[in-house]
Amino acid sequence: MGSYDQVIIGGGLSGLAAGIRLARFGYKVLILEKHAIPGGLNSYYFRQGRLLETGLHAMTNFAPPESKAAPLNRLFRQLKLSRKKFSTHQQLRSTIYFSDNYSLSFSNDLGLLSSEVERVFPESIDRFTALVELVRSHDPFVNRPWISAKDRLRDLLDNERLMNMLLWPLMMYGNCNEHDMDFDQFVIMFQSVYLEGFFRPAGTIKDFLEMLLDHYRSLGGEIRFRAPVKHFRIRDEQVDTVVLESGEEIGCGQVISTAGYPATLQFMTSNQHPVEADKYSGRMSFVEIINVLPVACRKTLRSDETIIFYNLDEPFDYRRPDQAVNVNCGVICFPENFHDLEVGSEFQLRVTHPANYDIWKSFGPDEYAEQKKLWTVRSSAVVGEIIGNYRQKVVYQDVFTPITIEKFTGKANGAIYGSPIKLKDGTTSIANLFVAGTDQGYLGIVGAMLSGVTMVNNHIFEQN
């Protein structure tokens, strides 16, 4: 039986960041990843010779290297990675689309969003400017009880439609709650998306993950793939041993679990209290359709934006749909639409919609395949109305459902943004067990990685 100072469960971005941080200061650390490759939610796979990315539409929190206090640059310093050598591509621009009359574009320059708000909602521009000032000065990391972002925004903006339009991208990119979001969460997301903005690293998510993995290993960190955890052995109210599905036992001083709180609870209780785990399972999950199109059909489509966040439902509501998928709202992403990316012979169009896990779970194998086809057609009909028809031109297509997400990420109910009940400080009922990642309220790739770093700083470095 091997033994480690720390065992980290999950080789996604929060687990890798936590591992790098520990290995950097000489701790003996092991990451256990149940799949054959790292990345978790943000990973990749190959089909017909194409590398397809999962999860990543864009990274948030863009900041130039000289903005030292920016989250992205703090993260790089904490991981001892060179920010200057990390080459980034900023978004072109993105749009929040509710109708032809109600459409707001934004980029990594807040000036664009401000001028758009002034154009569409001239009566609200002063209130919008005041909101931006408030977001800039508000510290969202103080531990506060949940506050309704909608209540605050009704008060601050006094404009229901503008409020909903601003909320929509932030909810789609990281809200585990239905209908509303926590105001602190709103502030974190507003800063990440509207004040800092979208970018992607040069290269693929595979390159990014390999860079992190190489760095982790060069610092002495160890990782094991295809090593799913079965349960913890708990002695004197401490996790004493991590037991793998294979039966192998690994001794540990401390454990950081990035598997999500429901899965972590199951490791603790060996399935004795599934009801408790249910309480921590989120309801928001998604379907994503990846379309590969020949580059020639770009000019026939509205395809000069990076991301279009559209909603045609009136009234707007962010929630689990009553049907398998709600195609009336979603995210249309062109992952090639970032500054200075090389144009290939094909391009991707990724479309994401809210979806209902329970309905997808209820389908038998044949019906499941049928429903995937059916909803893909319905999706392309609605999206085609916005960007032009592309359905006949698709050369390759793949669809993820909430079931796919649950299978590959371990997130209960395919709820990628985790539980509505956030364990902000990462502590659990077991003194040497901490959780990091999406169940803590940090969002996006930068957020997930900062979560791993912060848990190590707060619970391992400060305490030992």
Binding site: F25, G26, K68, A69, R74, R77, Q78, S82, V453, N457, F461, E462
Partner: protein, 83 residues
């Protein structure tokens, strides 16, 4: 270690945390954080690096002792005497 050696170690650690930090113009008696754009996360790295290199445990209550270069040297001098 002598006071000068300790000072060099601190500067080296800071440079290691942030390759762009301008350590040449540091005022040894003024707070490091104000002069170097360091936040509390970076600051923790100084503590961790001292722990890694010299097995020196600095309790959180003592962090204020590390505020300036001079106070760092004062604090570390007796603790790194044997190193």
């Amino acid at each position: 270690m002598t006071r000068d050696e300790i000072k060099d170690v601190i500067l080296e650690i800071i440079q290691d945390i942030d390759e762009d930090s301008e350590i040449e113009n540091l005022d040894a008696d003024k707070p490091l954080r104000d002069q170097l754009d360091l936040d509390s996360m970076d600051f923790l790295d100084i503590v961790m690096e001292l722990r890694k290199r010299y097995q020196l445990q600095i309790p959180e209550a003592d962090y204020p002792e590390l505020a300036s270069l001079t106070s760092c040297v004062n604090y570390l001098e007796p603790r790194l005497k044997e190193v």
